[in-house]
Amino acid sequence: MNPYYELPQDEAGYSFGFLDEYAKREVRRNILKAICIPGYQTPYASREMPMGRGFGTGGLQLTLSLIGRGDTLKVIDQGSDDSVNAVNLRHFIELTCPGVDTTERTQDATLIQSRHRIPEMRMTSAQTLVLQVPYPDPLVVVEPSEARRKIMHGEGDYSRLLTKLYEDIVHFDEITISHRYPTRINGHYVLDPSPIPRFDVPKLHQSPALILFGAGREKKIYAVPPYTNAEPLVFEDVPFRTEDFSDAQGRRRSCHRCGATDSFLDEFTGNDGERIYQCSDSDYCHQRLSTQHSAANEVSR
């Protein structure tokens, strides 16, 4: 190497959307394939992103390949726009995608990237949701070999996964899967819906919005196309159940801020040791509060 070599100053200059155009085109091709085969884990050559594998690099590659000027983006993590990872991802996208707007309001976004939650507000057919996926394959709990899992998926053979549920009921009288609940798409492929709570699984079913899943480290893309059936894997006589937010008297708990009784609640301990419940979807909570404020103002006026 030439000892006088100096790094050119444009060495760190990036094109729109960080990835080179060939990479984005490959991702888009695989998104199309994933939409055509609902629930099928489409392999792709996942690129390294400037944040850690597991921090949403799969979802980020989907977002960067899809986003264009005129899009409005919302990024959430744990339901919140302001958590460290959401801030970091949004900042990076703003940096590399000039001309793209960002928002916290679910209804204003054209593209939403999320980790662990689907927004409470029902999404529309004009919107796309990108979910970040750590483990794409629901069969991994019963079969470690990827080659063998691929055959099981192809044949629609989910008996071993169901046997795992059977064993759960035998031993605990309950299905112990808390999040990442295996869900059958369009009657064939069973996918891992990413670590969303069971509360969010019904939102996949017949969703007007396109839902895309990106697993960067495991290098897979899959999709629930709009208006597609999504059914959690269950027994005929053991119904699927979402998280239970009722108190000791059987009443549905409410958010301590906005009073919502229809949202997924975060639980934490207050300074006085009391248990506090609050909407996990911060935008939903804010919008409810501001509606309540303006309604109150109307009344007082």
């Binding site: 190497m1 080179d20 390294e48 339901g79 801030v87 662990h116 750590p134 309950e174 290098k219 301990t269």
Partner: protein, 370 residues
């Protein structure tokens, strides 16, 4: 609302980055910022490791990554990879002949004498690992004369530029199988997804940019008994390989530059073959950017183990291509290990829901039994 840990992410990140930067410059007034040239030369093996694991031959950028990441090899290789993601693939090199390598070191543990002779070259193999206290306070005047003195004392022209390859000699004697046909286009792991079973070229490419420690651990498991390669190093060479590229207009191959690489070929005991053809030794191949001998040897041993696993079915983790290839990448594994530090409030809430329900059921069952 002080207790909502999820708020104020932007401010926290900013503060965290400032703290990181302050630690980098913690020497204060006594500090001298590291020059990239100093890192590239004085920490040449670290730079080698980063170009290799980063999968991008750019020593100066690697040096920058080392400086920026404060010496963390996983982070530095990661930064180089992310940089690579922004670059389109404009050209693919044809197969490069490593016999053209300008060698700085080549050894064989199979033969006392090899065509062209052994050349120990720069190595720590026989350096005593005693602390050299004199290095702790080196006089710059002395330091600057070391290289010139070495060059002046080494007689020029008594060494050939290139050496013939040991495995070619073994092939000519019929001790090794013939080289595989060149017809197949090598697999590009940066552009094609891995769908198992994958070809050997995809495995070799994955190992070439694997994390050194992970590769070593798996290869070591095979050497120790979870496998049975029993390798002999036919040749290990380190040197500068001229890279030829087709001229954009004439198509003629022209030398575009050179890369420092380490190459290792291990020969292992022959196997009983099904048919009655002559038994021959088997070969494992390892090569990577930079001067990384441990990595090249580990890779060669694993290549040999994986070839066996692909033929007969894996008997050990180190013989299973899926197991090896999916667990040696530093960017993948370190990223995932670290992602556990991110908030998992929602999933943990969901976990608590399941645990409380099953606990309640277990309690009511016990109650009924009493």
């Amino acid at each position: 609302m002080g207790y909502v840990a999820i708020k104020g992410g932007g401010i926290a990140i900013k503060g965290s980055l400032e703290a990181l930067e302050a630690l980098r410059a913690a020497e204060g007034e006594q500090g001298v910022p590291l020059s990239l040239s100093a890192i590239e030369n004085q920490l040449r093996l670290l730079t080698s490791r980063i170009v290799s694991e980063g999968g991008l031959y750019h020593p100066r950028l690697a040096a920058l990554a080392i400086k920026q990441m404060q010496g963390d090899t996983l982070e530095a290789a990661f930064a180089l990879r992310a940089c690579r993601s922004t670059k389109p693939r404009l050209l693919a090199t044809p197969v490069q002949e490593t016999s053209r390598m300008r060698v700085i070191r080549r050894i064989s543990s199979a033969f006392k004498d090899i065509p062209g002779g052994q050349m120990l070259g720069p190595t720590y193999d026989y350096a005593l690992r005693l602390m050299r206290i004199d290095l702790s306070d080196e006089a710059p005047e002395v330091f600057r004369t070391i290289a010139a003195k070495f060059m002046g004392e080494t007689p020029a022209g008594n060494l050939p530029e290139t050496f013939p390859k040991v495995v070619d000699a073994l092939r000519n004697e019929g001790l090794l199988p013939q080289a595989p046909a060149r017809a197949i286009e090598p697999f590009d792991i940066t552009r094609e997804p891995l769908i198992f079973p994958i070809p050997r070229s995809a495995i070799l490419a994955s190992m070439a940019r694997a994390e050194t420690g992970s590769l070593l651990a798996l290869a070591y498991s095979n050497m120790r008994g979870y496998g049975d390669v029993h390798p002999t190093i036919a040749e290990l060479r380190v040197g500068y390989l001229p890279v030829f590229l087709p001229h954009p207009i004439t198509g003629e191959e022209i030398e575009a530059g050179e890369v420092l690489i380490t190459e290792c070929e291990v020969v292992a005991m022959y196997e009983n073959s099904d048919n009655k053809s002559k038994p021959v030794f088997t070969l494992g191949y390892g090569a990577c950017f930079g001067h990384n001998e441990t990595k090249a040897i580990s890779m060669a041993i694993l290549d040999r183990a994986l070839q066996k696993g692909m033929k007969e079915g894996p008997a050990n983790p180190s013989e299973d291509p899926e197991f090896v290839v999916l667990h040696i990448d530093g960017v993948d594994s370190m990223g995932f290990a670290n992602h556990y530090k991110m908030p998992h409030y929602v999933t943990f809430q969901s976990d608590m829901d399941r645990l409380r329900t099953t606990q309640a059921k277990a309690e009511s069952k016990q109650g009924n039994e009493k």
